[in-house]
């Protein structure tokens, strides 16, 4: 059964490690259990108020983290991205990959005492998540129907095989299971009062939300996993100022700074402080900072200009001053965090202003009497931490080769509209996930078919049929080695054409009180903190 369970996933993730890590995880947890104290309080730092307390509706990381404590999902991930049982005890995937059958644990109760059944899963995912949540709609795109066969069995019927579905069902931001008895009342789920006082099945119950200040959760005594959670109270505290977040940890006012609250500038200082553990999490979806050239712009349509600009960016300096060294200079469109597919082959654009000037001269953009060649804009979402400094640095670096850069930070919504819908930008930058598989993270921002103002992600408008062929072949290839080869080919084509500047592969630093154990390993899937506790 294990073979069918993971058969198709293995094809994509190339993972022989799945089975072993699963057993390993259990052993580690068992060892720690005797050393963990019952009870205690954990204070987690938030950068601002979460969007809401219903992840079936909102997708931001902070809300997912909180909601993941209150609500449950069918499965969960371990630190290596392997799928573990959570509310589903076991599952079976049909040989053709079109039918997923989940067996739920018996005796799970909602926080208000009602019994949790397969009907909750089928109704909620179909009527709320898929309807109102973009990420969910994508995850469930292949799903034709979800049926509750009996109280403890739920079946997903797919119209085509979609291996990422199983792991996707572990993410609270798309697969949170809502209580049907509360949401199925004929009203709009977005206006349900339970969005402010959620009732879930997770290890912690919602207690209080003091907007702008903190959110308090308390231990769920009826949690379906014996002896969990350890903690009595879980507090998410809002600290908008970055420096103050580090100080709160240092002074013992807070215990855990997740990556989405981490101030990059504080990381080095915090890692030197006794009693604090500061580490870099590996994130399976592998974020990479990159800048898209708008190839519709007549200057940027010229390949040599793009190459010249890329050569004129000192990425070491960006990494040092904007990201405080927390990353690795990118070599191409696949992040180095994706071991199985990463390659440092392809064209590498070292910092070489002389070459850049020469390329620009040859491309027909000589300096004018004032030493200026041309002027272009760079836009980004102003809330994306290091981008402000990155833009200022690139502006200074390009000024030296006679290119004037106008910096236009934008509010998130306006930025998305300008970049994805209206294509009104010259260069735009931010962070994109290139994982967990290149078929999901990489392909979608470079192929011709994704040049689409209604939801397409290829904002640069770069279209190369040869590249498309490689990507499509790779997505359908069953043999892992062959896939690796195909993606290396794609990397070759892309780095030569440089429709993007790949800036740096992002690291995900976290810091916490060293007395804590059991924090989830992969910060992108902040699952339940039921194994988290204080050392005895």
């Amino acid at each position: 059964m294990l073979l069918t369970k993971h058969g198709s996933l293995r094809r994509l993730l190339g993972a022989g490690i799945l089975v072993s890590s699963l057993t390993l995880g259990v052993v580690v947890q068992a060892q720690e259990a005797s050393e963990i104290e019952e009870g205690g309080v954990l204070v987690v730092v938030l950068p601002g108020d979460p969007q809401g307390l219903n992840s079936a509706l909102s997708t931001d990381t902070a809300s997912s983290n909180i909601v993941g404590q209150i609500y449950g999902t069918l499965v969960r991930l371990d630190a290596n991205g392997a799928v573990l049982p959570y509310m589903a005890e076991s599952w079976d995937i049909s040989a053709d990959g079109l039918t997923y059958t989940f067996k739920l644990y018996e005796g799970i109760k909602w926080h208000d005492g009602e019994a949790f059944t397969a009907d909750d899963v089928a109704w909620g995912l179909w009527n709320v998540n898929k309807e109102f949540n973009g990420a969910s709609a994508g995850l469930l795109a292949a799903v034709e129907s979800i049926e509750a066969v009996d109280d403890l069995t739920v079946v997903f019927n797919l119209s085509y095989p979609y291996p990422p579905l199983l792991a996707g069902l572990a993410y609270p931001n798309s697969a949170t299971i809502l209580p049907r008895h509360i949401y199925d009342n004929g009203g709009d789920p977005r206006q349900n009062p339970a969005n402010q006082a959620p009732i879930g099945t997770g290890p912690f119950k919602f207690s209080e939300n003091r907007a702008g200040s903190y959110i308090e959760l308390v231990r769920n005594e009826d949690y379906h996993i014996e002896g969990r959670p350890y903690l009595d109270r879980l507090i998410f505290q809002v600290i908008p100022n970055e420096a103050a977040r580090g100080l709160a940890l240092e002074r013992g006012d807070a215990d855990f700074i997740p990556y989405y609250s981490m101030s990059l500038s504080e990381y080095e200082r915090l890692s030197g402080i006794e009693g604090i553990d500061a580490t870099i999490h590996k994130r399976t979806i592998a974020g990479e900072y990159m800048a898209f050239f708008n190839t519709r712009n007549e200057i940027l349509a010229i390949k040599e200009v793009r190459q010249a600009l890329y050569h004129a960016v000192n990425r070491e300096e960006l990494l040092e001053k904007a990201a405080f060294g927390l990353g690795k200079v990118s070599t191409g469109p696949i992040s180095s965090a994706q071991d199985q597919f990463y390659t440092d082959a392809g064209t590498f654009y070292d910092f070489n202003p002389e070459l850049a000037e020469q390329l620009l001269d040859e491309a027909g953009f000589p300096r004018d009497s004032e030493g200026k060649r041309f002027s272009i804009r760079i836009s980004y979402d102003q809330k994306e931490g290091p981008m402000n400094n990155t833009a200022q640095l690139i502006r200074a670096q390009w000024a030296r080769i006679g290119v004037e850069l106008q910096v236009t930070p934008m509010e998130s919504g306006a930025w998305r509209e300008a970049v994805y819908r209206r294509w009104d930008f010259d260069i735009q930058m931010g962070t994109w996930a290139t994982g967990p598989d290149p078929a999901i993270g990489v392909q979608g921002i470079y192929t011709c078919e994704t040049i689409d103002p209604d939801g397409g992600r290829n904002a640069s408008g770069y279209c190369n049929e040869a590249l498309d062929k490689v990507f499509f072949a790779a997505a359908q290839e069953v043999d892992h080695e062959a896939r690796v080869g195909l993606y290396a080919e794609a990397v070759d084509i892309l780095t030569a054409d440089a429709p993007h500047m790949w800036l740096w592969d992002r690291f995900y630093p976290v810091a916490y009180n060293e007395g804590l154990v059991g924090l989830p390993g992969d910060p992108s899937a902040y699952g339940p903190f039921d194994n988290v506790g204080w050392k005895r």
Binding site: N241, L247, K321, N388, Q392, R395, A414
Partner: protein
């Protein structure tokens, strides 16, 4: 009549005497002139270029008198370039607001009746609306270019000018010399521009001088909230980025704030002095 303003002009020395009666006004003027000079000669005064960057987070030293920021820019140079932005915003925004205020105030006061009614309702609307909120919203929605900032400050601060001028017009249009002009067949435009306006200007000038520091402070506050133009150096923006590093680079916050403080103080003192010198009856 033009002559009344010329009369005032001829009394420049008189004006200076009244202005300089208070030491504080003179000190303020010196400060304002210093600030103006720094802004005008920024390119010569600044020890480093606009886009020159060295080591980050250097404390004040002989190389960087006021230290360097998170990108390695020299704080002193940034403050000097920032003076240009503040000056530009201060003067252009006040010019915008004065033009709107003068037009609305003059038409309102001169014609009265329906025109006055409509204009005054609009003025009241703008006076009631929380300015700063509106400024935040407009800049956030329409983008933070320096011209947007100037425009927004301009269109939010004109009501006081309009009301002042309307009051002056109401008082002046009753005078005999206006009646005389009208009976001579002068057009409304000529009456407004040549007869009434020159006489009504002094309080507007005082008001404008006080508004400059207000405009500078408003720009600083907006850029402190992250709503400044990232393509120009601004004191508010310097303070904004300093926030995140207060525990490692105090100089990033201390010096730009000091620059705002001294400039505002100087301009306020000048405004006070002008107030005393130009129209003693408006003293508060």
């Amino acid at each position: 009549m033009m002559q009344s303003l010329t009369l005032r002009m001829r009394r420049t020395s008189d004006l200076w005497n009244r202005f300089s009666r208070r030491n504080s006004s003179v000190i303020g003027l010196l400060g304002a002139v210093f600030f103006l000079a720094v802004a005008l000669f920024a390119n010569w005064l600044a020890p480093y270029g606009r886009l020159e960057m060295g080591l980050s987070f250097q404390p004040p030293s002989p190389d960087n008198w006021l230290g360097t920021d998170s990108l390695g820019s020299d704080v002193l140079s940034s403050i000097i370039y920032g003076a240009q932005t503040s000056l530009l915003v201060g003067f252009c925004a006040v010019a915008t607001s004065s033009v709107i205020g003068v037009v609305v105030g003059a038409l309102s006061g001169y014609y009265g009746g329906m025109v006055d009614n409509v204009f005054m309702r609009i003025t009241e609307l703008f006076q009631m609306v929380p300015q700063f909120f509106l400024a935040i919203i407009i800049i956030a929605l329409f983008g933070a270019s320096i011209w947007n900032v100037i425009f927004v400050i301009g269109i939010l601060t004109w009501p006081s000018t309009a009301r002042l001028l309307r009051g002056e017009f109401l008082a002046l249009k009753q005078r005999e010399f206006i009646e005389a002009g009208r009976s001579l067949g002068m057009s409304d435009f000529d009456l407004i521009m040549r007869e009434i306006l020159p006489n009504a200007l002094p309080p507007v000038i005082v008001n404008a001088s006080l508004q400059i520091s207000g405009a500078i402070l408003l720009e600083t506050s907006l850029s402190f909230l992250g709503l400044g133009d990232p393509n120009v150096m601004s004191w508010g923006m310097m303070l904004n980025s300093a926030q995140e590093y207060f525990n490692r680079a105090w100089w990033m916050a201390a010096f730009p704030g000091l620059a705002i403080f001294l400039t505002t103080l100087g301009l306020n003192l000048v405004g006070d002095g002008l107030n005393d010198a130009l129209n003693p009856r408006l003293r508060t």
